[in-house]
Amino acid sequence: MVVKDLNLSIRAGEVFGFLGPNGAGKTTTMNVLLGFVNATSGAAFLFGVDVREPIARQRIGYLPELTYYYKFLTAEELLRFYARIFGIPRAEANRRIDQLLKLVELDSARKCPIKNYSKGMQQRVGLAQALINNPELLILDEPTSGLDPLGRMKVREIIQRLKNEGKTVFFSSHELGEVETVCDRVAIINQGELKVEGRVAELVEQHHANLEKIFLNIIGYSPEPAA
């Protein structure tokens, strides 16, 4: 069993951090939310709609950890393809594509095939496709993975901007520093079980430690005494 008795609710408009060590069950939880795998028991809902219904994904955007897109398409073609899936009218799609490519700084490379993109560029095109439908909920799996410090800062800025617009962001990350900065609430999962959940400030006050120490305590790591 990968995830056991997980009960979570995310409120509209908040930035929610989903933390845990490798193999804790974070990605599996996202897979269930996105309908890639079925839960063995229980149910998951997005905006009150069962995740098994495709319409549940109409208002969400998803950025996977490993960003792979159709290599033979250009960034513009990829975004146009996804816009068509969402049923966005052509004129509106063109406007959003222009806006998003400028936001993720890929305007100059919009006509280049994705196979020629660097890792960072692919991550940015991933972010653009996650935002194409102007989602109310953004699910990000390790959004800053593989990015340089400048890239990570830009992602944090985008998350903050989305929060200011009233969007909900649910993301997993190993970068505890940025989680502490950006998130309203966090949940820490270990070995498939939810260990702790709450507002970052409240947790820090409760455990008298920063988020990193709380995380290490929960996963049962105790540092070796210095010689």
Partner: protein
């Protein structure tokens, strides 16, 4: 339907941005033109052997494009992980299957048009005649047959892990049906029971792809099958393809996809 056509469009783009189609077309064209340039007994009016070779190459190429393109669709999506951002959109697995089918089938149709145009030009240059309706009907029937083949390969792609094994099995089955499909009833009657019943059952179950091979009518300038028969064959192809696509959906909908 918008989603299905969007997916189909991506498949078509993939076909004409890969090299397969161009390589096959150039090979077909070169072999046909080389064979056409050979003089047999100083007679410039001989044309049927060129038509025969060209149509054989068109059939082989179309099958290679259909099976090769289709066999890698869903496995490639999973392997390259492009299926995850796709299914994270409001797209059902049924739409993915339909979109892939539509894309592969449409791509094959476009390829066939190019091939048959070339074929028409080559035969017209020799015969000074262009039986357009015959070529259209032959193209249509071949396209219908490819619909069944594509649906079959799509089913194989969700059953078999490797595209190569799926493609090999598909080639063997398709060529087997084309060569032997119409004779299975004859073979069955020569067998003892219970083999006779098994072979006869197989004869009724397999899609009769050999109906769609009307090359002989084109080569030997015979009257092609009537439009009613053509319509019935089209209906048969549609039903069979629908059956195979339904089976594909039944298998695919339960498959877990882990990022």
């Amino acid at each position: 339907m918008n989603t299905v056509f969007a997916l189909a469009g991506v498949v078509v783009k993939e076909l004409y941005r890969r090299k397969d189609f161009y390589v096959l077309f150039v090979l077909t064209a070169v072999i046909t033109l080389v064979m056409g340039s050979v003089s047999f007994f100083n007679d410039a009016k001989i044309v049927r052997y060129v038509k025969e070779i060209a149509l054989l190459l068109i059939w082989v190429s179309a099958l290679v494009i259909a099976i090769g393109t289709t066999a890698r669709q869903i496995p490639a999506e999973r392997e390259s992980r492009t299926i995850f951002p796709l299914l994270a959109k409001p797209v059902t697995r049924a739409q993915v299957i339909l979109g892939k089918f539509a894309g592969c089938w449409l791509a094959c149709g476009l390829a066939l048009i190019v091939f048959y145009l070339f074929f028409g030009l080559v035969s017209a240059s020799r015969e000074h005649d262009w039986p357009l309706l015959n070529y259209v009907q032959a193209l249509w029937l071949q396209w219908m047959m490819l619909g069944i083949v594509i649906a079959f390969v799509l089913l194989g792609s969700v059953v078999f892990a490797a595209p190569s094994s799926n493609a090999t099995i598909a080639f063997v089955v398709v060529i087997g049906i084309l060569l032997l499909g119409s004779h299975l009833n004859q073979v069955a009657l020569q067998q003892p029971e219970p083999l006779r019943t098994i072979v006869y059952a197989l004869y009724f179950l397999i899609p009769h792809l050999e109906w769609y091979d009307v090359r002989d009518f084109v080569i030997y300038e015979q009257h092609l099958p009537g439009w009613t028969d053509c319509g019935l064959a089209t209906l048969y192809a549609a039903v069979y393809a629908a059956l195979l696509l339904w089976a594909t959906w039944l298998v695919f909908r339960r498959k877990p996809l882990s990022v």
